[in-house]
Symmetry: D4
Subunit: 255 residues, 8 copies
C-alpha cells in the first residue's frame, strides 16, 4: 500500500468519498489498461525514475501504444530498450526520439542535468562489449548522471586499466562490463572503494556459453563490493547505478 | 598505482630516496608476506572497510596467524566469515571475539556507531534463510550501518510483506534474501525506490539445484534496480550495501 | 484394456464372433493407420476431449491428412497447435478453420458453450507472454470453458495484480504465465484458493536461458497448490485446466 | 486485498474506528510475528487448507514454536513435512502427533472424513518411490480425500499397470510418481481422463542426475493433461490434488 | 594389429620382402591419403560393413572425392549420411545414387538381400521422429537386414503399441526412436525379449532441450536390455542393430 | 498381450470359464502383489532372463520379501544388484547366496553353463573401473555367458590394448568400461567388428562431473557400432550383452 | 611495472624529467587510445609475439582502424582472427593481406623463417576439424614455427594414427584437434613425449553439445602432458605452442 | 609402433627369432599384467618421465602391488597422487616414501637435480588453493625442475601480484592456480611472455559450482598463451610444465 492509501482513507473518513469510491481509487489509479498492457502511471512517483519499455518481444504497434499513453500523461523521459531499427523508425514517425543503433535504445524526452553525487564510470574489457556499455551509459545519462566511458581496458593488458586508476578512485559507482572470462569485475573491484556493478556479456565463443562463463566469474568475484546483473543487461546496470548515485538526494528530500 | 606512488616519486625527485628505494617502497609496503598469505595492510585505507578473512578452507592456525598480523598493525575491526565453532574457539583462545554460530561469523574489534545515510533493510523469504541474513546483518553492522531485520516475508503470503511496506520505503538499501524460487527480490524491487541487493540461498530441494533456481530468478528480475551476489553470500551483500550507504560520506570527505 | 474388451469378450462368449475376430477387434478398432500416423479415433471417448495435432514438425500434407480422417469420422472439434501461417493456409484450403496467428493455433469445428464449474483465469507477467496465453485461452475455450484474460500483471508492479484480486478469488483454475524470473506463479499461488497451473515462457535473455529460469522458479514455488507444464506450453495448461474444470461433470455422468 | 478490507473500510465509514486503527487492522490481523517467523493465521480461511510447516531447515525449537501458535489459535490440522525423527520426538513431547518415519511427515489434529468428488489414485513406478508417495498420501488424507495406493506399477512391466486400469478410470485425480526415466506419467496420462499430477523422484543413479531425468520426462510428456511438481515433492502433489478434488465444494459454498 | 600383420611377417621371414617393405606395408595399406582425408580401404574387411561418410560438415567436393576413391577400389556399398539436397545433387552428377531427402542419406551401390537372423523393428513415438527412423531403416537395409516400420506408436496411446505386440515379439532387434520424454524405449524394453537400441530425438521444445530430456530418459530406462545412441543418430542405431543381427553369421564364418 | 491371452480366450470360447474369470486371469496371473511390490512372475517366460532386484533404495526386509516369493515360485536364478554388505548378510540369513562385495551383487541359484555364440569381452580403462566391470561380468555369467576380463587397458597406453587385439577380434560382444574421458569405447569400437556396449563410470574428479564426461564421449563415439548404457550401469551392460549373445538361440527355439 | 619504469625513474632522478612527466610516461606509453580501443603498442616487446586482433564482433571499420595504428607503428606481423570474407575485403582495400577463408584468418606482414626448437605437429580427428586446424597452423607459421599437418587420423581407425607415429615422436609440440568425443588427445598424449595442446571442436551433433563433449574429454584426459584451450580456439593453441617452441631462444636471449 | 618394432623385425629377418616370437615380443614387453593392473614398464623410456599412480580409487593393496613391480624393475622415481594418510601409511610399511599430507602425494625414490631451462613459477589466488599448488610443486620438483612458490596473490589485491612481477618475467613456465572466478590466469597471462598453465580449483561455494566457474574463466581467458588442465589437477599442471621446461634437453639428446 502506498501513501495514496492514507489519503484515500482520510477522504473516506471525512465523508468526501464512498466506500466503493475508496476501493476503486485504491485499485485503479496507478495504471491504465490498454488491452495488451497495464501501463504504469505512478511508477515515476513511486520509484523516482524514468519509464522503461522492454522492446524486445513487443510489436512496433504495442511500443507506440504504450509510449502514446505515457507521453499523454507527461511521464517523461521514456526509455525503450532492445528496440531494433525498424521499430525505432515506426516510433519516430509519431514521437521525437533519440535513437542509438549500437545500443538499441530509444529515448523520448529531454536529457536532464546530472545531479548524482559523482560520476558513474563504465569500463569494458574489450571493443566488443561497447553495445552493452552504451545501453548502460545512455540509461544512466537519461536518469541524470554524469558518465565516464573507459572502454577496452581488459585484464590481459592490465597496464591499460592501471593507467586510468584515478577514474576508478573518483567514481561514485563503477559499471564493469566484460565477456569471455569476465575478470575485469574482480580487478576493478580490488582497486575501487565504491560499489561495482558487474555486467557479463555474451561476447566470446565455445566455453563462453553465451555469457555463462563471465556471469559465473562475476558472481564468484574474490573482490568485495561487487554485485551482478543479467548477461548483456546494460540497462539494468545503468538503472541501479543511478539509484545508488541519487540515494542522498532522495534521503535529503524525504526528511 | 595508488597515491603513495606520487609521494614516493616526489621523495625521489627531492633526492631523499634512491631509485631502488623507490622501487622497493612501491612494491613492498602494502602487504606482509607470512608464507601462506600476503596479508593486506592498506586495504582499509584503499577501500575504507574492515578487514575480512574467508575462513572456509583455511586452518585455525592460518586464520589466527592472519588475525595476529592485522591486530598487531591495528587494522580493526576484523571480520572472519564462514568460520565453524572449532576454529572460532581456537581464535577465541588468542583474541577477544564476538561469534555468531548461526551466521558462522566472528568479529574482532568494537562495533562502530551507524553513520550511513539510512537503514539497511534485510528481508528473507523464510525462516530457513536466516543464517545468510545474519551474516549480512552482522557484516553491515560491523561496517557502521543500522540494520532492520524483516524475516519470513516470502511472496506466498504477500500480505506479510505489504504490511511492512513502510520499511521498504524508508530503506537506504534493501537486501532481499530467498531460496527456492527467489521471487522476493522481484516483488521487493517493484515496491522499493532504493537499490536492492538480492541474495539467492541454497534453501530448497530437488529442482532448487542448490540455489541455482533462486540465482537465475534474481538475475532475471523483471523489476529494475536489482543486482545480485553469489548464492548464500550474506557477507558480500552486507559489504556492498554498506558501500552504497556510505557513498556520500566518502564523497563529502574527498572534496 | 478399455470397456470394449468386455463387450468383445461377451460377444465371443455368446458365440457371435470367433477367437480370431476377438483378437482383431481388440487390436484394431481404436485407430486408423494412414502410413505416417496412427490416427486415434477413440481418444475422444476415452478422454472426453477434442482431438489435438501437434503441428510443429509435421508437414502441411501430414496435418491435412490427419484432419481429413478425423473430420470424416466426426471427431470434432480438432485443435492444431504450433501451426505456422503457411501450413494453416494449406489446411484452410480443404477445411473450415479458425486460425490465430499470434497463438499459432487452428481450430476445426464449432466452439462449444462453456460448461465447467467456473471461469479459468489466465494471467501473464508481461505483454510478451501473450502468444502463449492465447494458445492456452483458445484451447480452453474450444474445450468448453469460460476464460478471463488478465494480461501484463507481473510482480514488478504488484498493485496491478492486487487490483484484480477478485478474479483470482472467483477462478475455478488459474493459469499463471511468465518468463524471466517467473515469480508470478508464486504470488498468484499465495493469493488463490484454487489450483494454479504455471507456464514458464522463453521470454527474456541471458540468464533466462530460454525459459529455464522461469521453469525452475515455478517448480520451486514456495506457494502450495501450483503445478507446472513445459516451457511455452500454453496448450498443455489450457488442456489440464479444462480437465480440472470439468471433473464434477464427468463424475456426475459416471454415477 | 481480502474481504476484511471492505469490512474495515465500512467500520471506518461508520466512524467506529480511526484511520490509524484501519491501517493497523489491514496490516496486522493476518499473521503473528514470533521473531523468526510470521505465523500465518488466516491462510486457512483464504485457502481452505490445513497449515503446513516445511520442517527441513527449521530447528526443533522453531517448529514447536510455530505449532504452539497455530494450536493455540485453533488452526488445525497442522502438517509438518520433511521432519526427521529427532525433531518429531521433540514435537511429540508437547503435542499429540501422528508421525510417519517413512514419509517424514507429522500431523497434529484429527484426520477429516473424505469429502472430495472421488478417490485420488497414487501410483509409483517402483518400491523406492514409496516414501514420496506416502508424503503425498498422508497430505491428501489429512486434507479430506480418499486415497488409493497403487505402488510398483512401472512401465517396464506394463501389464502390472494395465491390470489396474479400472482405478485409473475411476480416479478423480491421479498422482504419478517415478524416478529414473519417469515414463509412468506419460503412460498414465494416456490412459486417464482426469488430471494427472506428476512427481519426479530422485530415485536412480548416474544420468538420473538426482531426479533431473524424471523431471524433464514429465515436463515433456507427450500425453495431455499432465502437470508437474518439484522433484520428491509428495506434499505439493497431494495438496494440489486435494484442491482439484474439492473445487466443486468450494464453488457450491460460494454461491 | 590385424591379420595382415602376420602375413607380412611371414613374407619377411621367407625373405620375400625387406624390413622396410614390411614396415611400409603395415603402415600404408589400410588407407589412402587424399590430403583432407585418410580414406579407409580395409574397414570393410575388418568390420564387415559398408563404408560410411559423415556428410554434415564436409563440402560437396570432399564428399565426392572420398566416394571416388571408394568406388574406384570397389568398396561398395557406400552410405553418405547427413547430406543435404545440394550436396546430393553434386554427388549424383558423378555417381549413381539413391537419395532420401527425408532421411538426408545417399547410397551408392546395390541393396543386398537381407541375411540377418530376423527382422529389425523400428518404432517411433510420433510422426515427427520419422526422418531419424528412415536414416536407421535405410542404413539397416543397406547393410543386409529386413526392416519392419512401426511409426507413431507413442506411449500416450499405449493401445497403438500393444496392438502390434507380435512385431515386438518376433523382432531380432528393436530400434525405439522418440523425442520429448522418450518413454517409448522403456515400454518397448519391458515388452521385448530382444536387444533394444534407443534413439532419442530432438523433437520437442522447451524443457526437451534439443533431445536432452529423451536422452536422459533412455539412459535411465527402468527396463533391462536397452542401450542408447546419440540424439538423432538414426545411422548409429541402424549400424549396431545390423551388427547384432549378423553376429551368428560372422561366428559361423569364423569357425 | 501375451500368448496366455489366446489360451484364456480359447477356454472362454469353449465355455470352460466365464467372462469374469477370463478378465481375472488376464489381469492377475503375471504378478503377485506383496504390498510394497508387484512381484513379476512371468518375466522369465517373457524375457528369457533371470529375475533382477535393484537393491539400492530397498530395505533388507523388502529385498528378502521379494526373494522369498521368487524362490517359492522357482524363478531362479535371482540377481540382486547394488546391495551393500549389511543387506547381503540379512539376505544370506534366509537364502543361499553368492555375494561379491566389490561388485555389490548377490546371486541366488546356480550359475548356468555358458551357451551364447561366443565370449563377452569386458575391457576397462583403469583399475578403478573394476567394480563396475565385475557387476557386468557376474551378470553376464549368471545369464549363461563366457566372460573374458581385460582390465586396465586404457588409451593412454594404447599398446596395452593392441597387445590383446585377438580378444577384441574373437568377441561376440564387447563391453567397454571407462571413466574420465571414456575414450576406450571409441578405440575399441574402431578395432572391433562386433557390437560394443559402452559403460561410462563415475571414476575421475573435477570436470569428470560424476561420469558426465565419459557419458558424453561414449554417446559421441566416432566409431560405429557403439551403444551406451547409464553411468556405472554394469548390470545393464551385462544384461543386454547377454541378450545379443543369445539371439540365435532364441530364434532357433522359436521356429 | 615493466622495465621502462626503471628508465623513467632514472630519468626523473637525473632531473631530466618532472614528476608529472614521469607519471605521464608510465601511464601513456604502452598504448594508443583510438576511442573504441586501446591499441597496445608494447605487447610485442613484452610478450615477443605478433599482434592479434579478435575480429568476430568488431566492425570492418574498427578492425581497419586498429590495423592502421599497428602498421603505422611498425608492429608487424598482425594476425586478424575470426574475420569473415566481407571484413577481409574491406581490410584488403587498405592493406596487403594474406587471407584464408577456411580458417577465417588474415595476416598482414611477412611470414618469418621458422626458428623454434622443432616442428609443431597438428593432428585432427576428422576432415571437419580442418578449419580450426588451419587457424592453428597459420598462427604458428606466422609466429615462426615449422608446422606438420596430420589431418583425419581419428581414433576410430587407430591404424591411421599409428602409421604416422614418427611425426608424433619427433614433434616439439603437438596440437590435437577433435570434435565429437575428443578421444584423439588422450591417444596422442599416450604416444607422445612432448607437450600436447588439445583443442576441442564444435564438430558433431546432439550430445556433442557444441563442443562440450570434446572439451570435457580433453580436460579429463587419462594421459599426462595434455592441456586444453577453448572450443574451436585454433589460434590459442597455435599461440601457446609457439611460446613453448621458442622458450629456449627467449632464455638464451635473456642471459 | 615404437622403435622396438624395427629391432624385432630385424631380428626376425636375421632369422634369430620366429614369427611367433616376434608377435609375442611386440605384444608383451611393454607391461606386466598383475591381474588388476597392466603395469607399464616402458613408459619412462617412451615419455621420459617418472611413473605415476593415481591413488584415489585404488586400494592400499593395489597401490602397494603396483609400486612393488615398479621398484623391482627400477622404474624410479614413482609418484602416487591423491593418496590419503591411511594408504600412505600402508605404503610406507613396505617402501621408503616422502609424503605430503597437504598435497596428498607420495614419492618413492630420490629427488633429482633441477635441469630444465628455467624456474617454474607456481602462483595461487588464495591460501585455500595451496594443496593443489603443492601437488603441482612436488610433481615438478620430482621431475627435475626448480620451483618458485608465489602464493596468495589473487587479483582482488592486484598490487600483491605486481610486486612480484620479476618472477613472472623470469619464469620458464607459470602455473596459475585459482578457484572462485579464476581471474588470476588472465592477469598472469597478460603479464607473462612464457607459457601459462592454468589450474582451476574447487575453492569457493554457491555459483562456483565445484570449480566450474574458474574452469570456464580459464578456458575463456582473454590473454593469449594460456592452456588449462582439469579442476584441482595440480599433478597434471606440474607434469606438462616439466615437459615444456625440458623440451630443449630432449631435442638436444635426440640429434
Amino acid at each position: 500500500m502506498n501513501n495514496d492509501t492514507r489519503k484515500t482513507l482520510e477522504a473516506l473518513e471525512r465523508g468526501e468519498i464512498s466506500v466503493d469510491e475508496a476501493l476503486t481509487r485504491i485499485k485503479t489509479e496507478p495504471f491504465e489498461d490498454i488491452g495488451y498492457a497495464m501501463v504504469d502511471l505512478h511508477r515515476k512517483v513511486m520509484q523516482g525514475a524514468a519509464e522503461v519499455i522492454y522492446g524486445e518481444s513487443k510489436t512496433a504497434e504495442q511500443i507506440t501504444g504504450i509510449v502514446d499513453v505515457l507521453v499523454e500523461k507527461g511521464q517523461l523521459p521514456v526509455l525503450v530498450t532492445r528496440i531494433n531499427e525498424a521499430k525505432a523508425e515506426a516510433l519516430a514517425a509519431r514521437h521525437d526520439i533519440r535513437y542509438s543503433k549500437e545500443a538499441r535504445i530509444a529515448v523520448i524526452g529531454d536529457q536532464p542535468e546530472p545531479d548524482g553525487i559523482g560520476p558513474i564510470v563504465i569500463a569494458t574489457g574489450g571493443t566488443s562489449d561497447i553495445p552493452v556499455a552504451e545501453e548502460a551509459a545512455i540509461t544512466a545519462e537519461t536518469l541524470g548522471n554524469e558518465v565516464v566511458r573507459l572502454y577496452d581496458v581488459g585484464v590481459a593488458g592490465i597496464h591499460r586499466l592501471l593507467a586510468h586508476k584515478e577514474y576508478i578512485t573518483q567514481a561514485s559507482v563503477i559499471i564493469a562490463i566484460a565477456g569471455m572470462e569476465g575478470a575485469l569485475a574482480s580487478v576493478v573491484g580490488g582497486l575501487a572503494d565504491c560499489p561495482v556493478i558487474a555486467v557479463p556479456t555474451s561476447v566470446g565463443y565455445g566455453a563462453a556459453f553465451e555469457g555463462l562463463s563471465a556471469l559465473l566469474s562475476m558472481l564468484n568475484s574474490c573482490a568485495s563490493g561487487v554485485a551482478c546483473v543479467n548477461i548483456d543487461n546494460g540497462f539494468g546496470a545503468g538503472f541501479i547505478a543511478s539509484r545508488i548515485n541519487h540515494m542522498q538526494i532522495k534521503k535529503g528530500t524525504e526528511k
